[in-house]
Each structure stands twice: as structure tokens, then as C-alpha cells.
Symmetry: C2
Subunit: 132 residues, 2 copies
DNA sequence: CGCTAGAGTGAGAGTCATTCTCATTTAGAA
DNA sequence: TTCTAAATGAGAATGACTCTCACTCTAGCG
């Protein structure tokens, strides 16, 4: 999907809802939040908006272990990774030079090109550990 | 799913088909292969078998970018990562001390515990690059 | 400002991987 | 061999996501 040519309140609403949300959310959750807020936004539109934002790298997306796509407003520009609390969804953005280098090296060793990597860490944050 | 209490030819057929397959395959593909081979195995059974094998770590599983679960017979015991060819699915198993250390360090820095990590590399292997 | 083209929307149908249900089959102990 | 519950499998159910298409509303133009 390329840049939208028109601005709509729906797109803005999705962006706004995303900014207010601390951790990763699914499109479905976001849709529910927006409906609960009294809007009449459609699920398809939420998906379209998220796909657009994801493409312009305004949001990060990742797949949850159960196959759902999760989204999060992206503070750090450019390539980076995440450390996500399994319990509360709180997320830290990480830049990882070590990993990037390792990726390049391993790729070269095996004669692979166009290497992309999926690197995400899941754990339990301090606060949730205390609560448990 | 805990260890099965009975051995069935179906379970064995799934394992066998998996061993013969070089790269990652989806449950659906595996089911198709088994049906094509003349068996009457059910899709649900393939899923059950894969879940079981995955739990005993006899197979590795990962999520493809489009949300499908893929499986592969696991040669390297214990924790490891993968370098997968996007074109032909050929897979190299990697042990990555660097990454494990980085994971531990980052987790500690942020006060996270029980860190798990998803680290997979996708690229184009030498052979496929030549073919293209 | 009003008009218009067509981008954007939304309700609901469609798709597709995976899981569930439950009647039937069958492994494995006695 | 007989018996019983584990395992299977066909098809229905689920759930995330995408597609369709008639309708709406943005934004450029006069």
C-alpha cells in the first residue's frame, strides 16, 4: 500500500489510539477500543490504516506466538528490536549492533544474501515480577 | 500435549515424512504429502502429531511471515537458531553464543527475567541466487 | 461556494490455518 | 481374544484477516 492521498478522521483515530497505547495491541483490540470510544470505524479500515502506518514505519509490528499481528507506535526510527514483557506488554526498544554484525557474518559464512532477521525478546519485567 | 500413551502408524508417518523433508513445511503441506502417498490420515491428526513432536523437541517450529506454522525435523539437539532460504526453504542450524549473551545482558540491563528470544534469519542461498 | 471524480470506508461475505466435536477405530493390557 | 479408553478423522466451528461493492466524503477545480 502506498501513501494515502486523502486524510480521513479514521486514519487519524487509529494513529491516536495507537499512540496512547503503551504496549503491543492487535488490530482487533484497537478496533474494539475505537468502537467503545463511540466511533463507527470498520474493522477493515483499522487493518488498512495499520498496514499503511506499518509501511511508512510509523508503527512496529510483530507476530504474537499465537499468530496474531500486533502493532505498536514506534518511537525509535530505523531498524531496531524489542524486549517485551509477556505479562503487561510493556516494551523497550533496542538497537543491537552485536546482532546486526552476527547476522552479516553468519550470512556471509553460509553464502546467503539479502539477509533479514527476526529478533525479539520476551520476558517478565521488574514490576510484573513484583506483583506476581 | 503430554507424551502419547499409544503408538500409531499415523504418528510414525508424520515423523517419517518430516525426516524426509529438507526445509520447513506447513502442517497442510505435510498432510497433502501423506494423502498423496496413499494414506488416509486426517488433518487434525497431523496437527496433533506435530504438536506432540514439537513439545518433545523432536521438531523445530517457526511462524512464517504470513502467519503459518512451519515445522522441520530437528537435527541439532538443544537450543539453536536458523538461517532459512526464502526461495527454496533450505535451512542451516546455527548455534549463536553471541546472541545468547546479548540476550542475557539486555535482559539484565532492563530488569527483565525469564527471557526467551526469537531469532531467525531469512535470506537467499547461493544456489538460488545462481538460478535467478 | 458548489460540483465532481474517485479515494476511502464499512458491513458483511469469503478465505484459510487451526482447533473442536464426537462417532468410530484400534492399541495394548488382561 | 476381549475390553476399554486413547487416538483418529470427517466435518463443523473458530478466529484472524482480506475482499467486495455500494455508498460516503475529501480535495481540487471552476
Amino acid at each position: 500500500m502506498q501513501q494515502p492521498r486523502r486524510n480521513t478522521w479514521q486514519r487519524e483515530a487509529v494513529r491516536a489510539a495507537l499512540v496512547q497505547t503503551p504496549g503491543f495491541v492487535s488490530a482487533q483490540q484497537l478496533h474494539q477500543v475505537l468502537r467503545d470510544a463511540g466511533t463507527t470505524i470498520g474493522l477493515a479500515t483499522v487493518y488498512r490504516a495499520l498496514a499503511g502506518l506499518s509501511e511508512t514505519e510509523e508503527v512496529d509490528s510483530l507476530q504474537s506466538p499465537d499468530g496474531e499481528n500486533l502493532f505498536r507506535f514506534c518511537a525509535m526510527p530505523g531498524h531496531h528490536h524489542h524486549l517485551i514483557c509477556r505479562a503487561c506488554g510493556d516494551t523497550r526498544e533496542l538497537s543491537a549492533t552485536v546482532v546486526e554484525e552476527w547476522t552479516r557474518r553468519v550470512g556471509a559464512e553460509h553464502g546467503f544474501s539479502d539477509i533479514e532477521h527476526v529478533v525479539d525478546l520476551f520476558g517478565i519485567c521488574e514490576r510484573c515480577r513484583a506483583t506476581a
